[in-house]
Amino acid sequence: MTKETKHNPSILENNGLPEFERDYFCDARPEQSRPLAKYIEKFLNWARANSLWLLGFGTGCGAVELRPLMTARYDMYRYGIAPRPTPRQSSVFIIGGYASVKTTKRIIRSYEQMQQPKFVIALGSCPINGGMYWDSYNTINRIDHYIPVDVYIAGCMPRPESIIAGFDLLKKLIKEGQAEGANKYIENLDWYKANQKKIIKDWNMPDYNW
């Protein structure tokens, strides 16, 4: 991954929007968030790790594997995991397998609307290297070019058990303070935006959604 230190001025002027809509959206760069003092942050991270609200946005086949998690057999609630219907309140975004360009656009919008700190789990082969849809004209090959990903789960699709294992790893990362994907995203915003704009041809949305 290349890290650009100089900011690209061409983004964040909401150029993709029609003139009359630009005023509705902020065009200031998002700011990185700083962790608090060591022990307080550690305590908060413990709380974050045990209260994972995931965004109920089934982006691919993986959506179907999330349903069993809610059932009595797996009962994800006992791990502090609960689905939320809105990105505003969610802290975990699960990329449920393949993402078409059209979906990717929505994924980016939803991801940006989540409040920091936020975490991403990529489910299955497709987000890693294209999976079954590796040669499709309309499906991206690797999600980490568009949003930062914390945990990958191999499988096509992974069983619910694997997803629980993925959450376990995510919890570990959060507790260790390593799940700083949101900051990474803001730090490399120009790179991510360039990648996103390469595939999303009709950029009729704000450059960054708060």
């Binding site: 968030s33 700083r34 709380a47 009595a72 009962d75 609630y77 409040q115």
Partner: protein, 303 residues
Amino acid sequence: MADILRTALYLFISVFVILNYGLLLNGLVRKIVARAHGRVGPPIWQPWLDILKTYAKRSAISHGVMFFLGPIFRLAGGLGTYLFIPAIYGSVMFANLSFSGDLLLVMYFIFFGQLGMALGAGEGGHPNSAIAVGRGLSQMTSFELPFALSVIALAIQYHSLSITEIVAAQQGGILNWTIFTNPLATFAGLFALLGMNMHSPFDIVLAPQEVPIGPPTEMQSSFLGILQTNRAIFLSAKLVLFMNLYLGGATNIFAMMLKTFMLYMLSVVVGVSFPRFRTEQSIRFFLGVPTLLGLAAVIIFML
């Protein structure tokens, strides 16, 4: 001056206790509901974790002044409701700000929060919020009727609008409780409580599969944290109010916990068993049997 400070300290302790009691009640009920689903359920301290996590979010966005005020109004509604109810009869610490006309004020506060929330949610601009607010207000208006009738019947029965006096009138034995002296008003009130608690079948406001989460769709971070705080306080406040009105109040904290828990379980038992009503079904329901019960209660005591 010392009086004011002491009252403030007592209020603070009272609110702190009732907040944690509300969260405990939440955690306990989640566990019970999970068991009814055949699940293990989240740990009992999950509500604390959730609320902590929400407050610990590093970023938050506002959609304007009303969006900011929405949760504040909501919390004010919850706090207001609680602060004017004597939580434990005879206790100085938990007498709160109870005064002779408090029942009317409390009834106002119960609905004040909802209205404030409606304004805040509207400012967020999310369509789901607007739909849910519309549903919520319609349902509120309809369960308001049996509740108001029930309260009127009580006021007539006890010749008072002071909650403390109503509680006092019920002392001296289980048969003095309103539930036995005025069962019609009690049932009308309890039906209203079901609607107020927004459990199934009256959860059209939150309706997880329809308007995903309803009014707080756009609420996040500390805004949501305030709402979660309020939810715990407001829930307990409602239960304490109903306990005072119908179950003879409580003379100590354990009696209060037991009675409010039983009251809450009423909502939970019904909620787990029944599927959701649609808005018009809900309204039709409240304007039916509960309203008739309330009317009957009022008429009987008028005579």
